[in-house]
Amino acid sequence: MDRRAVALVAVALAAAVAVPFVAGQSEYVLDVLFLIFLYGAMATAWNLLGGFAGQVSFGHAAFLGIGAYTTAILTQIGVSLWLAVPAASLLAGLYSLVIGIPAFRLRGPYFSIATIGIGEATRLVALNWTSLTGGASGLTLSAAPPLTLQYFAALALCALTVALAAWIKRSRFGFALAAVRQDPDAAETLGVATTLVKTQALFLSACIIGVAGSVYALHYLFISPDSVFGFSTSIGLVIMPIVGGLGTVTGPLIGAVVYTFIREQLAATLANADLLAFGLLLIAIVVFEPRGILGIVDRVRRAARAKAAPAVQR
């Protein structure tokens, strides 16, 4: 990282930490920022597998759901949050290992379709296991931590996840993931244990989303299979990184900002209009600029440089 980037990150972090003290009682601002950070963390976690390793999962809501339900059930029986949140994370991670073993027998698009099935199967089990999950009527949590605390939790989770992603991208592990994405056969030939690194990426991403599930449950205080295990949650996790820039460090965060604003604007006006907009956005991005918003930024920058260069020569 060069000095400018370090300064930029420091300023952004300082600004984010200062918001609750400046915005004070404006719950709306805090609420929107909370959502951006929570979604940003989840999108970045999804991107570890979907972007870095190129294994697009349509079933990541399963981990959010497991995290949320574990937190809800454990706090109901009086377990402290210090235990409940790690438990939520671990359980989501373990579940990812259980499904990763059969699912990674499949490659690329086949893996993606299997994950639709996994997500759906998990939702159905949660819906029908009434004694544990309360079925369709969902679970209610008793007390919420103050919004400021939730805000800092989401901010910390997001910052740590992005830092982890940045570190992974430059590590040996990150290169192995990139090799899997570019050509699994060649990666295997070069000595990359492709299934192992894919499973590791899935595990990490599931653990982080499990924590996000805890934060989610503590924020909304009500969870049901259709909200946390819902397919639209999985869709959101796919869309954010793609909109921002698949396989990049900051892309998912940019995607989370776009996603949150579109949802805030459209969900109120017309039911499901937000998903309609996301579908169109997805088509447009895939056809015109598969690298997402960061790709567009890159293009604009290059065009500007190309324009500036001849002027310098003269």
């Binding site: 027998r105 490659r107 690329g108 698009p109 159905l124 397919f231 895939v286 056809v287």
Partner: protein, 280 residues
């Protein structure tokens, strides 16, 4: 009897995979659209649901052909995941347009024909199920004849086997791919239309069905139309027997379980699939 429906809704998926080597994730959206158009023709114009395919098949063919021309063609050369995401976007658009137009209420076609039953050897059988089965078989026969007996059908099969060789012998491969995609979409619409006779539906119902289609196609072999028919029979039998041992609300789990079992038990079959994927 449901096998006919399952087969009809999976032919298109297999055909598009065979020729274009892409997975049509939007299949579910077109199934749903086929069901809604049938319902709409029936409630607004009183057109008998069995006649609806006459309008749906050509219209969906044109739609699919246009989609291939404008969007799908652009991503054919890219990584497989890109086309998957594109068609996923198409699915999202279709599904949520349906929410906007027809709302999320559950719809079903209500008429005497749908509830009629006949006795066959002492067993009461629902008339629409018989018709759906017959039409599924009919579609299989028609498709098989088309693929083996006509020039266009042979060109489609040649393109599926080896795109470059097909081009070498003078087949207009681009045209063939557009037509194959159109036929695939038309078959999805046809399947959806049949489906509206048996089940009630919402804009979202395609998801579990598309999972079933995928399961059937994997069972039957990815580019064989007859294999798809066998896969459909296998899955519908598995479901029918499964329901005896588990609650009906978990019925949709069966296709997923079958999928996982096939993948683990028949790694050879999957290896062939993967090789085909790598070539495409």
């Amino acid at each position: 009897m449901v096998a006919g429906l399952y087969a009809a809704m999976s032919y298109g998926l297999a055909l598009i995979y065979g020729v274009l080597k892409i997975i049509n994730l939007a299949n579910a959206g077109f199934l749903m659209l086929g069901a809604y158009v049938t319902w709409w023709l029936f409630t607004s114009f009183g057109i008998h649901p069995l006649l609806a395919p006459l309008a749906i098949v050509p219209a969906f063919f044109l739609f699919g052909w246009g989609l291939e021309r404008t969007l799908v063609r652009r991503v054919l050369g890219a990584e497989p995941i890109i086309s998957l995401l594109l068609l996923f976007g198409v699915w999202l658009v279709l599904q949520n347009l349906a929410y906007v137009i027809w709302t999320g209420d559950t719809r079903s076609i209500e008429m005497p024909f749908v509830e009629a039953t006949v006795n066959v050897a002492g067993m009461p059988l629902a008339v629409p199920r018989l018709f759906v089965f017959a039409m599924g078989v009919l579609a299989l026969v028609a498709l098989q004849l088309f693929l083996t007996r006509t020039y266009l059908g042979r060109a489609i099969r040649a393109t599926a086997q080896d795109r470059d060789a097909a081009r070498l012998v003078g087949i207009d491969v681009d045209r063939v791919m557009g037509i194959a995609f159109g036929i695939g979409i038309a078959l999805a619409g046809f399947g959806g239309s049949l489906l509206s006779l048996l089940f009630s539906f919402t804009p979202d119902f395609g998801r579990t069905l598309s999972l079933k289609s995928f399961c059937i196609v994997v069972l039957g072999g990815l580019d064989s139309i007859v294999g798809v028919a066998f896969g459909a029979i296998a899955l519908s039998l598995a479901e029918a027997f499964g329901v005896r041992y588990m609650p009906a609300s978990l019925q949709n789990l069966i296709s997923f379980v079958v999928l996982v079992v096939v993948l683990i038990a028949l790694p050879k079959g999957i290896a062939g699939t993967l090789r085909a994927l790598r070539r495409g």
